[in-house]
Structures are given as structure tokens and as C-alpha cells.
Symmetry: C2
Subunit: 191 residues, 2 copies
Amino acid sequence: LDEGLVCHVGFAVDSQPFVLPTAYARIGEYLYVHGSPMARWLSLLRQALPVCATVSILDGFVLARSAFRHSVNYRSVVALGHFAEVEGEEKLAALRAIIEHIMPGRWGDAIRHPSDGELQATVVLKISLHEASAKIRSGPPADLEPDLKDRARKVWAGHLPLVLSPLAPVPDPALQQDIPAPDYLIEYGKR
Amino acid sequence: LDEGLVCHVGFAVDSQPFVLPTAYARIGEYLYVHGSPMARWLSLLRQALPVCATVSILDGFVLARSAFRHSVNYRSVVALGHFAEVEGEEKLAALRAIIEHIMPGRWGDAIRHPSDGELQATVVLKISLHEASAKIRSGPPADLEPDLKDRARKVWAGHLPLVLSPLAPVPDPALQQDIPAPDYLIEYGKR
């Protein structure tokens, strides 16, 4: 949950499921999401509907000798429960955590922290991680014995690791000329 | 849909939603997923439950002058409907498309294509993209006018593009020494 960046939140309305991607952060045993009170999905989730919050990380492709054994390496967490709205100190801590989760160091930079009006225009919800399960697949392919022994079939097998990498930061066209990219931005992804 | 790699499929059982990540491919106006007939979620989806299939790509972080205007750049597709099982030629074409979607060139390499038994041990489902919507956010932050004009607050603003990049391929420990990594693998991600 600390390495992932996008949470896919599932909920159902009149038995039609919806799955929406959103930013998030974990604090202790809770996962926090946020958004506008105008957003329909947040209005629904405020009502404590049963939900599923899933975070998955694609770690790579698994290239086997047989088509059947091709796979992906991944890590995923699936949390079931319902969201509850948070306020006050916990709300501000969650917003800080969501920004710091995306870009460690950003909250402590000179960004303007939320005004009272902005806090009112933001809904922050949390879900307990009490009912959650994790899955992981890693490493090489698991080919069948006959495929391993078939030395006539010359095909490369193994896995290709994937990582989400930053390209060069793109300054806002309105950025003042004398403001350099901060260290935490330049160092992002080199951890 | 052709650039994404993971589909998050949502469905509900007794009003409890579940969201599971899976590989997929698009052919024409359909999105295909596959898996084992032993998997509970595939057994459920075979029954044509209402589902939501969401594919999202995280394109970058948006670093604004105010905490409130921080965001992410992304592209997402949300398709509603139900899955239907496919067989025969269409099933094989879908399996081929799923492997080629992950690693273009792989199906035409010397991998062993599915046997009849393996085809029977695989369920392939498709969902129409008829009822689907796409969302996108790109580019620089959208700061408020007072924040743009506040030249005393020296904070970098802009966006950080992110891409999923391959690391070096990792050969299977059981790989024959004389089989080199194929060109399509070495070239992966350089497109």
C-alpha cells in the first residue's frame, strides 16, 4: 500500500458495480481517499455503502515456454468494508499523507496549505484495513516438465521487471524563472 | 485500452463489491479477460453478472502551488455491462491478443501454443465496449489566480511525467545457455 499509487474503489448502485481510480494514502490501519463533495461517487461512499478498495502494482511480465504459463508478476491488496468520513486534525493529516505519498517532501515545501474553504470543499474518507487480503506473484515462469525438457524448442524464458519511472519534470509555463526544481523532485524514483 | 496493462474488474456478490486486477486485451469493440475455471471470480462472471471493467494509466503527478490543486495526470476507461464466454477461434484469438498485448512478438516466437487440455482449463470472457466512458487529465497544474500572483511564495510548480519502464530481462534459471533474449524483449518499452 505504501508503494502503490492508485487505488481502484468499487461500489454498487442498484446492483451495477462501478470501479473508479483514485489517489490514496495509508496511515496506520486505515486507507484514506479524498475528493470533491460534488463528485457523485464520493457522495455515495459517504453513505457507508459496502465497498472494495484494491491497490495493485504491476511488477513485470512472466514469459514462459508455453503460452498457457505466461503470467504477470504483481502485488495487490484487496480491502473490503465501508468508508467513513473524517474531519478536523485527522482530515488535514490525511490530505498531508496523500500529498506526501505521491511526492515525499512536497508538504514541507512552500506550498500553500488548505484554507478553511478548501477543507470544506474536500471530502476525506477512510476505510479500515482490518478485512484485507494481499496477493503476490514474483520470479520466473513455472513451466511444465515436458516444456522444460523440450530442448528442440529454442525459446527464451524468464521475466521482465517493470518499474514506474519519472521522466524530466515539466515546469508550469507560468513558473517564475528563478525557482529551480526541488531536490525531492529531482531525486524522485531514485530511492 | 491498448496502452494500459491491467484491468480492474468490479462485480458484486450479495451487495458486497469486489475489485480484482487482471490482464486483458482489446479486439475491436470488445475487451477480453481470461483465467482458470477454478477461480471463483471467473465462475461468477460467467453468469453474466453486471460488471464494471476499468483500465487506468497513471501518467504523472501534478504539483501545484496550493495543496488543494495537487492532482495526477491519468487516462482511464470505465466500461459497464456483463461478460460473455467465448469459444473456438475467438477464444484462441483472445489468448493470442492477451499475450501480444503484454509482449508484442511473443506469440510468433517459438512458444508452445495452448493444447486442447489447456484451452479447456482456461475461461475467456469478453465485455462489449459499447457502454464505456473515458477520462483524461494532462498538463500543468491549474492554480488559482491569487496563488499565481503570490511571488513571495517561492515554490516550484509543474508536473512530473511517469512511464512504466522495463529493467533488464531476468532469464529463467533453467534457461538453456545458448538462447539469447529476443529482439522484441530487448526493444520492449523503447517504442
